[in-house]
Every structure is written in structure tokens, then in C-alpha cells.
């Protein structure tokens, strides 16, 4: 006899998923360094994240890509340490380290066995206080970054797409320059630029330090005070981007052709408000509704039913300053881009004109709640969530309120944000075609 097959379609409510609150200690040192500590003893390792509020948008004029180049130079040693010291302190004891530069922040992170925590705090304080860069390692690292550009932007089949989308969408705001920059402007950078950049942005009051894992909050705070406490804060103000992108009033379209494009693709990018805006939660819900999972509207319609796309995504790219809601489609073989885009437009029109029903919203809420539980399995997942909450929205406690905010989003909210932001005159389209 066969087992009884499943008959009714299963579902659970997002509120049934026990998402435990993140418990943390939050301190600001007299020199302005913000330190957030999350004791969690499940696994004997710690994740250290130190984020500086400087990213691609803060690149000096004529120096696009500089914040990212600078990130590389932070691994080249200090007056007290040799180049690659971070690798010795992490890889060599079974940990790892890396960094990323986004439009808004440069985030350095390490995961190490917890008995090594203080050594990494020392090293992070050291490179904040006393970075030294010489002509030789500056030149080598610039070549490495140009190599990264070649690999990620030139060699990857859709590598230029993100760069083009940002460039088309922003005419005034420096988000239009992207993060990786251009080889020509990277080659124009000098060692003097490096020194000035470090002095301008790498200061305790422009940093957020988050440590999560096998730690004692009081002991860790004492370590942080010991190593970061003596670093002075300059009295000069930190320059901030004040540019405001004027509202877009007409659709922009840019066509790009290259030999290495296997299938036609397009991205439509719509201006949306900053991550701290009250509509952010509804935009995240809209992203999941349209593009996450095989029951999402894009997959069901474009990939499964009509078979015009081999994939289709939505991404609410919420940033510290007004960001973009991107929808991207890659054609199925033999399908014209116009047909795939028409199918995409139908789905956008559907969500602009009718609210999703409760069943669909329940699905989206459960997907979001489950992904929060998954990402919190690791210390680094928890640490990065806190870094983003603080740097993009100004308050770590937001991580404990996000789920409630998602649960409060109604079908009408979703329709309203789709109608408000996903308007043709508010979008920039990049069509990416084979040569």
C-alpha cells in the first residue's frame, strides 16, 4: 500500500515561525566609534565587522572607483604590520577575512575562532590609526583592481549591466558612477589621494563596529576601549553627499550590444526612496511577490507559463539615499526581447492595478520570515544585518522590528507602492543584446 499522498496544499503562518530577537549591547565610545556586541555562544567563533560610512557615492570627483581601490589598500600593512597581516591573523588560524565596498559603505569583516577576537580588534584599530601605503603596493593593487574590473565587468556575460543601469538612472546623484569605477579614473589616482581619503573618512566617528558570536559583552567592550579608545577624532566635519536626483519625468532607454551576450536581456530600474522611508517594507514585499521562488509572479508567468524568459528577477535595491527597484529579464532561446518585456510589463500592470490576495501575501511573509531565520544561523549573518540597519537606517533595533513591519504590509500597500514607483516615466531601461 502506498503512503497517503499529500492532498490539501500546505501552508504556515509567518507568525508561527519563532524568530528570536537579536540581543545586543550598544555603546558609543567618547571618540565617536559605535560598537554593537551580540553574545551568542552556539559556535566558538566570532564575526567582526567594521563598516566605514564611505562608499562609491563618496568617490572624489574624477576618481570613480576610489573607495573600492582604497578598500584593497587597507590590506597592505601599517607602520606596525606587514602587508597581508589580516590573512595571517585569520586564514592561518582557521578563519577568513574579506571586505566589500557598496555605494554607501566599506565593510571589513573577519570570522575567527573566538580566542583570537582581541588580536583582530587590535589589527582593525591599527589599520584605522596608522595605514601606510607606498608607491609600489599602490601601483600593484591598482592593477589588481583593474584586473577585477576586467574579470567582473568585461569578461562576465552580463557584467556591464549594473554599471549601465546606474549610469542611466542617475544624472545628478553620484550613485550614477557605480562602485567599481573606470580604469581611466583609477589610473589617474595618486598616492596623495590615498592619504587624503584615509584622513577624511577613516576616523572613529565614521565607523560602526559589530562583533557577534562567542564573546562576553563586558570583556569585549573593554578590549574595544583599550585598542580603539586612544584613536583621536579630527575636528573637521565629514563631507556628505548632498546631491539630490531630480524626479525623472520621461523614460530613458539605452541599448548595449556586445559579442559575448548569449541571450538578450533587459533591466528596468525605477527610482525608489531611501531604506529609511516608510515604503521600504512594502517594496521588499513587492520584490518577493514578483521575483522570489518558483511561485513568484515572474517565474510563474514568464518562465513557466509563457516560457519567454530563462530567468526573471526583481530587486528592491534600498540604499542610504534614494535607490532603485530593478526588474530584470533574460530571454529564453529564440524569444525576442520585445516579447519578453511585454510579458514583464503585463505583470507590472497587474500589480499596479489590483492588490495581491491574502493567500499570496501569507506566502510572501512566510518566505521573508524563513529567510531571516536562515541568515541568522551564522554569526556573520547577524553581524551584517546589524551593520546594514545602522548604516542605512540609523538604528540597530530595527532588526527586531522588521518582521512586524513586513507582517503589517497589506495588499493595498503593495499595489500603492507599485503604482507610485513602477511608472514608465520613472524608469531607465537598459537593453543588453548580442552584437
Amino acid at each position: 500500500m502506498n503512503a497517503k499522498p499529500v492532498t490539501a496544499l500546505p501552508t504556515i503562518s509567518a507568525s508561527a515561525i519563532g524568530v528570536a530577537p537579536v540581543r545586543y549591547a550598544d555603546h558609543t565610545l567618547p571618540n565617536g566609534l559605535r560598537a554593537v556586541l551580540v553574545p551568542d555562544r552556539r559556535v566558538p567563533s566570532v564575526a567582526i565587522n567594521i563598516a566605514y560610512r564611505v562608499g562609491g557615492k563618496d568617490d572624489p570627483p574624477g576618481r570613480s572607483g576610489f573607495a573600492h581601490l582604497f578598500e584593497h589598500l587597507m590590506f597592505k600593512g601599517t607602520s606596525r604590520t606587514a602587508p597581508e597581516t589580516m590573512d595571517r591573523l585569520t586564514e592561518d588560524v582557521g578563519g577568513f577575512n574579506n571586505a566589500f565596498t557598496s555605494e554607501d559603505i566599506t565593510n571589513y569583516y573577519e570570522v575567527v575562532p573566538s580566542n583570537h577576537l582581541e588580536r583582530l580588534l587590535w589589527a582593525e584599530a591599527d589599520r584605522l590609526a596608522s595605514l601606510t601605503v607606498n608607491e609600489e603596493n599602490f601601483a600593484t593593487e591598482r592593477d589588481v583592481v583593474i584586473g577585477e574590473y576586467d574579470q567582473r565587468v568585461l569578461a562576465e556575460p552580463y557584467g556591464m549591466l549594473d554599471e549601465l543601469v546606474n549610469r542611466e538612472a542617475y544624472r545628478v546623484h553620484p550613485y550614477g558612477r557605480g562602485v567599481i569605477g573606470s580604469p581611466a579614473e583609477l589610473n589617474a589616482a595618486s598616492l596623495d589621494d590615498v592619504v587624503a581619503f584615509h584622513a577624511t573618512y577613516y576616523r572613529p566617528d565614521n565607523a560602526v563596529l559589530v562583533v557577534a558570536g562567542d564573546l562576553d559583552a563586558d570583556e569585549t567592550l573593554a578590549m574595544i576601549e583599550r585598542w580603539f579608545g586612544p584613536i583621536p577624532t579630527p575636528s573637521t566635519p565629514i563631507p556628505r553627499v548632498r546631491a539630490v536626483e531630480p524626479p525623472q519625468t520621461a523614460e530613458r532607454t539605452y541599448e548595449y550590444r556586445a559579442a559575448n551576450v548569449p541571450l538578450p536581456a533587459a533591466e528596468e530600474a525605477y527610482h525608489i526612496p531611501a531604506a529609511s522611508h516608510p515604503d521600504a517594507a512594502a517594496l521588499d514585499v513587492l520584490e518577493t511577490l514578483l521575483g522570489s521562488g518558483r511561485s513568484s509572479r515572474f517565474y510563474t508567468s514568464l518562465v513557466y507559463d509563457k516560457q519567454v524568459a530563462t530567468n526573471a528577477y526583481a530587486a528592491a535595491d534600498l540604499r542610504e539615499q534614494p535607490g532603485l527597484f530593478g526588474v530584470r529579464v533574460t530571454c529564453a532561446r529564440g524569444v525576442a526581447l520585445a516579447d519578453a518585456r511585454a510579458a514583464l510589463e503585463q505583470e507590472l500592470e497587474r500589480v499596479r492595478t489590483a492588490p495581491p490576495d491574502e493567500l499570496e501575501l501569507a506566502r510572501v511573509r512566510t518566505q521573508i520570515a524563513s529567510s531571516v531565520v536562515r541568515s541568522r544561523q551564522t554569526h556573520s549573518g547577524v553581524a551584517l544585518e546589524l551593520v546594514r540597519a545602522i548604516t542605512e537606517r540609523g538604528d540597530p533595533e530595527l532588526v527586531n522590528g522588521d518582521l512586524a513591519r513586513y507582517l503589517a504590509v497589506t495588499g493595498d500597500d503593495v499595489m500603492r507602492v507599485a503604482r507610485t514607483y513602477l511608472r514608465p516615466e520613472n524608469r531607465s531601461v537598459v537593453e543588453y543584446l548580442p552584437a
Binding site: L9, P262, Q307
Partner: protein, 460 residues
Amino acid sequence: MNGGASTIPVAGPPHDATLPAPVERVLDNGLRVVAFSLRNLPLVAAQLVVGCGGAAEREDEAGLAALVAALLTQGTTTHSATEIAAASDALGARLIAASGYDASIVSASATTPAFAQVFALLEDVVRRPAFAPREVDRVQTKSISDLALTYANPSALARQVAHRVAYGGAPYGHPLAGTATTLAALTRDRVAWFHERFYRPDDATLVIGGDLEVDEAFALAERVLGTWRAPSTPIGERPHGEIPPPRAHVAIVDKPDAGRTALITGRVTIERRSPDYYPATVATAVLSGYSGRLNQEIRVKRGLSYGAGVSLAARRQRGTFFSSTLVDHTRAAEATEVTLATIRSLAETPATDEDLVTRKATVTGGFFRSIETIDGIAGALAEHVLYDVPLAELNSYAHRVQDVDAESVRAFAARGLVPDNFVVLVGDASKFADDVTRAHGDVRVIPYDRLDLGSPTLGG
């Protein structure tokens, strides 16, 4: 600026890590169940490992095992593809079926309150796939579209070419994803045959664990999968083919539109159950990673690429050791020589003790991070099951790595990583083929539009 202090603090004693102990039992229908309990987060995961994958398919049916796996979630006799997708997403679950060379794995994971329901879905897709002709057509067409994306990426294409170069017509030579020709020729009958033949409880293992007690896990396995009956046909022998001996030769795929040249060198090396597995793992770590020898030579010393590394894929039969990097076309010949010399250096000069201490720490650290999540533990256990490695080895992994000494790494490198490395280059051949030919006599250049991954000799 000043501040900070001149000397780095010393590390204190390490804190202990504990791993859940797996417990196993065999159900009456022959299904082996491996259960573990780890109750610190509200997540449960299951992986059903079915003992055959792409290695069991014929050359002219490349992609069959992958197509079967992809179709499991595309409709059963009780639920449509759309319903399965809707249910899985509504549970916030992951329900994924995929096929490797040696096995097919169906995995399900979800938060604790949703798990029993997604586990029931797993049972449904494993036992009652409908293979509706419309779904077979749809997945075939999409798989062929996806190949275009893979081939446009020089690194991904080079990996498929490297498998052919290493194995020719032996079991791991053909592309798991198939080719446009083999995929188009597959039929619904062949899909159903493969499922009927290889998805059976007496040749499968269920790994299940996370936020539940092991007794609950066994009870759930029994209730949901206990009535799954094995077919009367015998399991039969595992696919086993003669693997050709390593041979030093160069295959260049001329693809002038590639942004950069993908370079892979390598060789067939050990099987997963080999006593050499741990020395091989440490040897791989000495060469790989940011601080590994290869990246030091390629990126840090010469700026030839953004990164370079090596990987070991030990399988049921002898698997692969590959180096890989992506370089400017004009420097591909230089990168080839640097790579081969760097790998050779490990066979000639033993790693220093200092080197070994740190690279072993990298291996064990990476291992502990990989089992930080419930899915990660389930995956590690599934790998042990798949290669018939005793489960107890999971808990002794770190000790076994620590026991590897410099001489065993050198000795393994000398017989397992050299000599006779093949070289695969995918890029604009006009910029490097002459230089490569001068250095290596045995060079073959295949224009991209004449490349046939479906052929043991790559066509051309």
C-alpha cells in the same frame, strides 16, 4: 593619526566545538536513515541521497539524470508543478532536487513548524513524479536555453572541456547538464525509466536532523517513507568505467569573443575513500586560497589575474584535481607555465612546518564553518553517505587533518598531482596559441563553433 599600541595581544586557549553525533537505522524497506539533533535554532533539514547520478547515463543521453532530478518537482500524480512551487514557497521551505555524477539528491529544509509538511512534499516528488509530456518539453527547452548562458562564461565552459580532456569517454567525461543535441533527444520514457530504475529505498539514504530529537526524526522517516517499496529488480552494479591514465596535452578552445581566457590545468587523481584523501586535502589547501602558493604566484607576485586556486573533487571513482584562473589573453601562456611550475613545486619541495600548521588550520576552520548551519551538517553527512565513508569520520575530520605531515603531502603531490597535467585554455587563441605551442608540443586548437562536448574527443 596615532593611537593603538605597538604589540598585538596573544590568543588565549581555544574554546571547544561540539558536533552532534549522527545515529543511524535501516527501515524495513531498506532505506538507511541517518539522524542528528541540534536544537539551537528553529530549522530542520533532510537530504535523500539516491545512489545513482550522471555517471549511470549513456554518452548519447548526457543530461538524463539532471533532467530527471529537475522534473521531480515539476508535478506528481497528486500535485501540479505550480501547486508544488506554491506549497514550498508558502512553507518558506527549500525543496531542491539535483543530480551529480555519483548520486541524485533531493533536499528539503524549513523552519521547525513547517518541516513535516515540506517533508511530505519531498516524499511526494520522490515517489510519484508525473513526468507529464508538457513538463518534460518545458524543462528540456529551458535546459537548452541555460546552456547558452553556461557557454558564454569562459570559466564554466573550460570546466566542461576539462572533464572531457581528463576522462574522454569514461564516466565523468560527459557534461552533467548534457548538450543541446543529447537533451533534445531525451524522451519521457527514458526519464521514467531512469526514475524507476534508480530511485529506490534499498539504494537510498535519508539524512535528517536539526531542531528535533533523533527518535522523532526516525518516527517521521518511518511514517512518511516506510511504505516506499523497492522494485523487484536487483539494484545492480554501480556504474564503473575504465579511467584513462593522465596524459600531458593542451586543448585550446578558440573563442575570440571571450572577455578573458579561462585556464584550467589538472589531472585525474584520487577517489574519496582513498587513504590519500586527507594528505590530498592539505595539499590542495597549501596551493589554494588567497595565501595559497598558486594565488601568491599568479596574483600577488605577478598580477596575472584577480585570483587563482585549485580544487579537489574526489568521487566514487577517481576524481579531479583542477587549478583554475582567468587571465588576459596576452598573458595566458605565461599563466600556464607559472601554474604548472607552482604545482610541480609541491611535489619537489616539502611544505615547511609553518606552512603546514597554517594551511591545516585553514582546512579545519573552513570545515567547521561549513557545518555551522543545519543544511551544512546535513550536506556533510550526505557526502559521507554518498562515498561510503564511515559517519564517525565527520567527528574525527579535524584530527585526521592535523595528523597529516609535510612528507605525506609531498609524497601525495608527487604521485597524485603530477606528472602529466593536461591544460585547457578557452579564449582568444590568436593571442596565446603560438606561445603555448612553443612550450608544449601536444597542442590542439578547436574553434568554438566546432566544439562538441557530446564527443569524447570534443569534436572539432
